[in-house]
Amino acid sequence: MKKIGFLVASLVASLFASTAFADVAVKLGVLNDRSGVYSDLAGEGSVVAAQMAVEDYKAADKGITVEIISADHQNKPDIASNIARQWYDQDGVDAILDVPTSSAALAVAEITREKNKIFLNSGGGTSDLTGKACSPNTVHWTYDSWQLAHGTASAVVANGGKKWFFVTADYAFGQAMERDATEVVKEGGGEVVGSIRHPFPGTDFSSYLLQAQSSGAQVVAFANAGGDTINSVKQASEFGLAQSGQQLAGLLVFANDVHSLGLQTAQGLMLTESFYWDLNDQTREWSARFEEKMNKKPSMVQAGVYASVLHYLKAVEALGDKDATKVMAKMKETPTDDILFGKGMIRADGRKIHQSYLFQVKKPEESKGEWDLYNLVSTIPAEQSFRPLDKGGCSLIK
């Protein structure tokens, strides 16, 4: 495994020896996609975010020695589970961070539970992590598929988009997203006039988009992810769906996707995120520091890695111990508060609760810069952002 060589000298720490000195050494492993479709969203940026958290927290002064290592799981659950196992068994890793790609995240969650360590997920999307597959060792920090689908769908329905058409990736994750969003549309008094499944991964969406266009739907929603979303939005723009008056809604779109699509193509797209660099002064300041190191604005996933490491370190410092059971209990009982996600909490099922934001992608003429991508449409309060505790089917909830 690649060592980032991020070691805070204990020598310095000893100079500052003072009260409540924790003197704990923790090892964090950032496991994500470093070469494929999610390397932009997570990748090295997540490692940098974790390092920033350690620096900002001044962990060394507080007696916590932090080492951060990273590896590439190539978005494959088998590679992810191999690395996770090896990290826990051999390399003495205390917590695994990030892990985008739901299948890989689920695999890591299981191994973390088996080895009784801590899994601070930021990049994984599936709401099963705090539902069917919930674990006392998982914190699902940044977002989940329920949140994004609900946030976008309920807002669009409330704004009068009543007739929906789904373009869905034909696999479990896409179908689950479509199902979640359909529920919201029907609750809001809307109707689903049609849906079509495209093979996963897909490249040619023309026939699906033509059906969407001729369906008479007001809203065309993309229940897919990553490269599929980028391709389908791009082609929707070529077919002029937005120009013919249809509202496009992305159920899983990130700022990086929009950035790579360009505003010309993505304009008007509605989407939900938990974090955007341009929310307030604090997020702007942090994002500027991040940009200095990475030459791009942080994604919400990277922001989530930062915030989750801060909260983890807080718990370790308070306890003066890194025992997984104790740290998890401490993390759940302490309310979360950081500059990026504001005030929040970690629920019993491992779900981190915070506000989320409904955005609409700007028109090119509205944008003031390369990363000026979104107009904030509305803020979804924390208590409405995530699936209610009793609806997830998590076995930890009685």
């Binding site: 990273s70 590439d72 659950p77 739901s102 695999a107 597959a133 696999y171 994750f173 996963f200």
Partner: protein
């Protein structure tokens, strides 16, 4: 330059070694056994189990490719479907691991019979393409079928208790179970290769029309070796699912088929020990170069090119030529 010489040279030597096991093979098997008994005390057992599963998988393909002369480009279908069946059996039906593995292996055998029956009617590139096509169908089924969990795969497969009694939760005890399976598989393949059946296979590989003219029913031989190879590939896949507690799309994807062909070619096609070496080299590379991400594939590609250009017989094939003994 070795590259110019005929690739069959080393394998012809193998054919002389029929009947009882030659002494140097016995020595190698004994050394292998000793090595693998000692290895978990020094190396990470899960890594070693992965090597063993892939070694068995590569040996299974080698049986078909090296001795039957049939290049299957769809062996992931057997490996993966067995992994799915055994994972499902262990997780959903709650069967003990040995029953799950047997079920997985059997399912691969059945699948092998079906695909083999159709595939062996064609030769050369068409055979490879037919197997690839079937493997893609299996991949599609794995992606879509309700019980496979789509791109999540079947996760959290319990390792369970062997025979309902011996807990396999520790990597250590599981290691020795996998060792028994792999070694058993290896010996069985060795026996098949050196049986009269194996001799006929080699005859068919060298000259099919001549074998037909001698009165052998070539197609039934080919089908048999295809099914056998699928079965051992299934055994490897089913075991892998229990070891990693996971059956995923990676196991049925075409890159898996390609990877195992690479292992066989790199180690030495048509040698007994070649696939073991090939699997060990490739898995070790994947493990220790994991931090390079996608570069692993590129490095693998380079190694493949080098091996084709410089030592076409594979690592073990070259060694066999040096020591002038079949390996």
């Amino acid at each position: 330059m070795t590259a110019i010489t005929d690739t069959n040279e080393s394998t012809i030597v193998v054919e002389q070694a029929s009947g009882s096991m030659p002494r140097h093979h016995l020595v190698i098997f004994a050394l292998l056994l000793l090595l693998s008994l000692a290895a978990p005390f020094f190396l990470y057992p899960v890594f070693l189990m992965k090597v063993m599963c892939f070694a068995l998988f590569a040996c299974a393909l080698n049986l078909l490719l090296g001795f039957g002369g049939l290049l299957s480009f769809g062996h992931a279908a057997f490996f993966g479907s067995a992994a799915y069946v055994s994972a499902h059996a262990a997780r959903v039906w709650g069967l003990t691991p040995e029953v799950a593995i047997i079920l997985g292996t059997l399912s691969a055998a059945v699948l092998g019979a079906v695909i083999g029956l159709l595939a062996i009617r064609r030769q050369g590139i068409y055979f490879a393409m037919v197997t690839l096509a079937f493997a893609q169908m299996v991949y599609f089924a794995a992606l879509q079928a309700p019980f496979t969990g789509g791109e999540d795969g079947i996760q959290n497969v319990p390792r369970g208790d062997l025979f309902g009694a011996i807990s396999m939760r520790s990597d250590f005890s599981l290691y020795f179970v996998v060792l028994v399976i792999t070694f058993g598989g290896l010996l069985a393949i060795y026996r098949i290769i050196h049986s009269p059946f194996g001799q006929v296979l080699k005859a068919i590989r060298e000259n099919e029309p001549r074998a037909i003219s001698l009165g052998y029913r070539v197609n039934s031989y080919k089908l048999t070796v295809f099914v056998l190879s699928a079965t051992f590939a299934g055994l490897a896949g089913a075991t892998k699912a229990i070891v990693f507690q996971l059956a995923s799309l990676t196991d049925v994807y075409w890159t898996m088929s390609g990877e195992v062909v690479l292992m066989v070619l790199l180690g030495g096609m048509g040698t007994v020990f070649g696939p073991l070496v090939g699997a060990a080299v490739i898995v070790t590379m994947q493990n220790y170069l994991a931090s390079f991400g996608a570069w692993v594939t590129i490095i693998q590609g380079c190694i493949f090119v080098i091996s084709v250009m410089l030592f076409r017989e594979g690592i073990v094939g070259v060694i066999a030529k040096w020591i002038r003994k079949p390996l």
